[in-house]
Amino acid sequence: MDNIEYIEGYFKGNHDAAQKKDFEKKILEDALFAEEVAFYISANGVIQEQLQKEKKQRFREIYEQQKVISIKQPVTSIWKYLAAACVIVAVLLTTWFFSSAKNSPRQLADTYLQQNWQTLPVTMGKPDVLQTGIQFFNSGNLPGALNVFESLVKTNPENNAAEKYAGIVSLRLGDYDKALKYFTMLEADTNLYSNPGKFYKAITLMERNKSGDEDAARLLLKQVKDGNLEGKTEAAEWLKKF
């Protein structure tokens, strides 16, 4: 076992130049030691290959799951394309109809909602509670989706995805105060690489359209634009149209 430790030290780079020379000299002079070194490398290779096989199997499972989803939902996919086509036609018609008029914040928010929040992205992997909520949402069961996302937020207040989705569902249901509550929680989350909380709050205010909401939304959009935050492209465009 002493030799194994010595061999391991060599391959971990623990030996200095002189020790390396001694090590290689020992290989040349001691056949049994050379065999031990060859065994160490071979064993390492076999272990590494086993690891690669396991990872490949994991990738296969992920890939098979994706195939099952795409086979199970061919009709849904067609409807999704049709829905997307309808949205595009609707947007084109709306653009044509209002081409001479200035876009109101409410109209901009409506368009954003229609284009982005009719369905939520499904993440591949093992189904979990979040995915159940997303499935409810995508199948049109908004109250069911809200229940799932709210219970997730309650059990894990740091689950930023649940906060985001709870806000989006509330907004879709017209419960603007609740949407603002969840987007504020999301905004406060500092763990996110990219945080859309502020931008989503602006959309909610634009959609609610109460007295003072437009000004508050404008302020938030400006912060999004100036702070280079998520939604900055839309924010810059909308600020021009306000």
Binding site: M1, I4, E5, E8, Y10, F11, K20, E24, K25, I27, L28, A34, E35, E36, V37, A38, F39, Y40, I41, S42, A43, N44, G45, V46, I47, Q48, E49, Q50, L51, Q52, K55, K56, R58, F59, R60, I62, Y63, Q66, T123, M124, G125, D128, L130, N156, E158, N159, N160, A161, N191, L192, Y193, S194
Partner: protein, 198 residues
Amino acid sequence: MTDYATVVYDDEEMIRSLKENERPKRKAEEELFNRHVYFIKEGMNKYSLDQEDAFNAYSDTILQAIDNIVKTRFESRSTIKTYLYRIFNNKCVDLIRKKTTHKSSIHQTAPVSDMLEMISDPAKTIIQELIEKNDMALLQTKLDETGENCKKLLAMFAEGFSDKEIANSMEYKSADVVKTSRLRCLDKLRQLYNAKKS
């Protein structure tokens, strides 16, 4: 706590996460696989591969890229996507070439060669010849016989975990205990292998 399932990685974040251990690394590996999984379809269309071959070429691409990223061989001179695409195309061409020359398997990564490269000649030649004489299939069988605990210890170490990290993950008392156990496992494997070989 960050919900890794919903984290959107940019290249820098991806590289950092792949170099971490356990959950973040695993998530990043799966995210990397998922992100460019459409390459499989492209391999089928562009190179007329069947789905199984295209999948093998793609998963080998991801495994090779992960290995290179972890060992800092990827120097970020291009995006990860471009890098993967290049490897994937090479794998596909390699696969077609091997098929036309009637070789059945796609090129496998050879972890053995990394260690071998560390040894200078003429010692390297001697070790290379001895490795070629080793029966890898038998070694694999004997590795299975060392038991789940040994396999896990050796696998974690081979994946780059330190003895301290293994101690935390597998609830050993200390890194020293892990080291002793790990070396004993390797010794056990050698004895099992030599006994069968002789």
